[in-house]
Symmetry: D2
Subunit: 341 residues, 4 copies
């Protein structure tokens, strides 16, 4: 607690990207957390030079990330770093008593899954205690954690969409997930893929059936349901900035009313909405909502969910996790009003 | 044959919409067909008033559609009319000896299928002789037809994507088709759905599992393969003008190399391209190409195909059909060079 | 004051459009104002049926607008109605003691200017007392007003851009204003102009040199500077939803540092930012900021300003006005954090 | 002349960019020119690897540019290279008897102008003989040239827009040019500026009053009219791929009918259209048209012109120049039908 402000000081490490700016935007208005430290890998500028929209709203020096300094200034750190870099840094923070919400993939998966799809793990010590930060499923564990692994954007939308139905899904048949993401999901780095002309008026799938979120979805559905589903995942890049949709197709054992089942499943969750009609990206853009619609036809189940990929798929879910880690209302300072029209 | 120009005079009925302008654009440069008659439901203006891009390129009076006048002036008519209106008009033209390429749904389906999903059929007499205008599958029948039913845009992309594989597909399990279309597919009428603000930075499914192209796909796959597949179709509206993608998911009996099978299947077809990687919308925009990619994983088959919805999904396919109906090279005057970048 | 909540009850009349939803979004979190009445011209539905993004956030019955009922329930009304309709309704409210912030053009102009460019005025009685709601210029008058005429979006961006410089501008020569607006400025009604396909990948000017905001800009610059400038205004529609930019070109009597002059002029204003480099639309999207850049070259002055057309150009400026009318901090509940990325 | 094909062999140097692919697209259907050589700075791949849309349409090896080989194989070379690189290469080609259409800035300007705004000139020898490739103004000189400097995109749209009116324009006052370009004008290289997220839903001016096309416009207007106008140029980047608009504001000595004047001025030019209403980008996208509208109000003249920046602003204008250099019809193989809808 900051004795002057009665607020909890937090650090943002990796402030140059889209998830970094979203964290800053929310924390500026948060009644309990306050930004005490902002860093990038290089440091050495003012924050408004990185994010001109902050001009006249918020200024601070962006520092070169240093775990020792963070431990002096902050109680919790949001790590918005690339995988591999993140675990190196999280380890140092945890050893110094700083709580961590890690937005990378580094603590999301079991060791074998991680190493099969990413790289050798350099912080096995803390991997075991990491909690998968999907609040609707792991609220209590998150509340006690000092290390929360924030889920991937696609797994968030997919698992929230499927969780109410896993007991009905026939695991002898595959689940097909056709996903669509806005370009902010591809990050701020400039490549031939993220060039405006490559994306605009275009659509394409990428890493079809081989994206690293496929094993994450499989592992977390197994954890939630004890069923080892055959998950088949095909993501696409949409010509828009913000938002992500999942269309999932599968077979079920029996018939049921999917909207009723979903409403019952999420009856106490402030950030899941069940829609009678198809969801859209705009209605949840800028918020932490996961919007879900589902339809059953014979033995086929169709699930349609939408999130803002950099909010619920990253930063606002991270803030919900941080709220829970400090015993706060999970909705504290978390946006609910969409960027419409 | 027009004795002065040695060209075949054709009519375009329904020239105000997107398919109308595409037909005009192609016919202006066609070496054999010439535009002899252009009509809308109301008539009474110059064509460049409807389509300002034609200024200084092409001018003619747009007439109020009249079957008698068409029969005097044209040998073939492209009907770009709403369903129901189209069959009323096609009937009159056929009775007067005018060949018809109908871009509506009116002659695509068997009577029972049509009436179950559209409305009572008022031209049963000619329905029986209509040929489904998918050139890769029905080239010979089209060549002899005087009435060709141009396929729907989604069925075109889907059937071309699946046709090489139907013998491998396990019909005991559903086929799931996740489709995405540009807004030109929704037509030129102004509704809350086609308002820029509704579409821009947004994505949504519509008529999930209940779109009328679902029975069309089922019926035509049955016709092609003799297998009654359980077709499940979910279309989405994309924030872009032109282009359509199909992602289809299914189970197969046995393993095979899908790219090799597809290349062999389409080895003589000038307007299908098989891609080693995911297809995209831009590479076929403005052309008659259907681009196809496919991938197999265990017993799952993933097919990814793309077309320009108003070209291969409507107007350029109609022109290919007209070429075939007159014994011309099917590629005559049909665009192959995409609107890139 | 609502005795139960200690809040000031307000009404929103015209809740179906873009400015209506923006008002609702801000008022939901406002510490002093509370929404007591929401109406459209037809009424008879729930608000979330009009604006699905409000699902699970806010619900109320949308009523058919009735001045008597508003007077019972609210102390102030925001009128987001078409011009002409607005003055008919404002009159009734003012007679019943309800304060009004009118977002239409009806009370913005002098009688002669209004009638020359709009229609006969039917509430001359109140026209005289209306205050032009540009807080940076008329803060004190707004604070005392019971009827505030919220400025047009283009005049807002233009006048704020030019006001610091009017004393330097050579009125013997024209001011040329090249304006660009997102499509939300064209309203929610569906026309061939607002169809996605008309706007997407396109740009066009409209009402060049004859837009009704031209006389508004002229009149208000005259009011601010006592100089009768020759204002020439050409607006364009941009293929984007939200945001508006003004590029103004003119001659000046003498040289000066335009950024310094502008910073000094707005030194006490929380919602104007002066940028060292060109402004952009994104950095102020979703906020009440007017961002301004200017450059001088010889005797030419170039002014470049940006606002969110439905926020600073309409709804958030209306809220600032309402704050001032009740002696509140003008920034209370007014968004400052942009919709970035 | 290629003795086998009776065609004129041409080279494209710099085939990887947007202007390169546009040249290829047009030359594939050109009745006289044939592509004999395609190069980039690196070479070593198939052309369809650079431009997948060419798959199954056109294939050739992309070579590492070599002037000697070009001289053996081609009679004319289109140089789509960065400035500075271009003059080094053009020199070698001209010495070997190859005609050159240079799309860079290297031969557009007088020596002093060039060196003041670009860099020292390394081919002064040929600079003097270069003809500015604006066909409407320099058709005869182009026909005799062996080195044509293709104009910049902004100067093309601006000079064509202003040329009919220069005798009326009051040169004592500035001309203000507010320009807007699609992102293809910024080239294919990936930078933070061309990242989709930077451009989408955004607009900003760049290099206001300091863009290098400003002196080009000044010099060429002087050449055309003998008047030294005070040209003030502010370009903006639009969130779209293709198209460019100029809005120019100025004072005139006397009143006249600008549409009539423009129609008379361009009465024999196949690639300029005069519109009664505002121009738009879509109606000329994909073509060589320059569309012009103008309006006069008192002593103020407003000119509004549009081109496709990579066609009329680069590649299709280059092809017109090449046609003229060989005594061909300037419209031969040059697109006139727009990418609509």
């Amino acid at each position: 607690m900051n004795p002057t402000t009665n607020k909890i000081p937090v650090a943002i490490v990796g402030a140059s990207g889209y998830t970094g700016i979203e964290l800053i935007k929310m924390l500026l208005n948060h009644p309990i957390f306050e930004i005490a430290y902002v860093a990038t890998s290089e440091g050495g500028m003012k924050i408004e030079a990185l994010h001109p929209a902050l001009t006249d709203i918020f200024t601070c020096n962006v520092e070169k990330a240093d775990a020792g300094v963070i431990a002096e200034r902050a109680q919790l750190a949001f790590l918005a770093l690339p995988h591999q870099a993140s675990m190196g840094f999280a380890k140092l923070l945890l050893e110094r008593g700083v709580k961590v919400v890690d937005l990378s993939a580094d603590y999301r998966l079991k060791l074998e899954t991680y190493e099969a799809h990413y790289c050798p793990h350099s912080d096995k010590e803390h991997l075991g205690e990491a909690v998968y930060g999907l609040p609707e499923l792991y609220r209590e564990q998150i509340a006690k954690a000092r290390l929360v692994a924030n889920p991937g954007c696609y797994p968030t939308a997919t698992i929230l969409g499927l969780a109410p139905f896993t007991r009905f899904i026939d695991e002898r048949f595959p689940i097909f997930i056709d996903a669509k993401s806005g370009v902010s999901g591809a990050g701020k780095s400039c490549t031939s893929t993220t060039h405006f002309v490559s994306i605009n008026e275009n659509l394409f799938a990428y890493k079809a059936l081989s994206h690293r979120h496929e094993p994450e979805i499989h592992e977390k559905l197994l954890m939630q349901s004890n069923k080892s589903f055959d998950v088949n995942f095909v993501p696409h890049l949409l010509p828009l900035t913000r938002g992500e949709m999942i269309d999932a197709y599968m077979l079920v054992h029996e018939s049921f009313d999917p909207l009723e089942v979903a409403r019952e499943f999420y009856r106490n969750d402030p950030f899941v909405r069940i829609f009678d009609q198809s969801v859209d990206l705009k209605s949840c853009a800028g918020t932490n909502f996961c919007d879900i619609h589902a339809k059953i036809k014979g033995n086929k189940l169709y699930v349609n969910s939408a999130v803002d990929n950099i909010m619920r798929g990253a930063s606002s879910q991270a803030l919900v996790n941080a709220n829970l880690m400090y015993g706060l209302d999970e909705a504290l300072g978390v946006p609910r009003i969409a960027y419409v029209p």
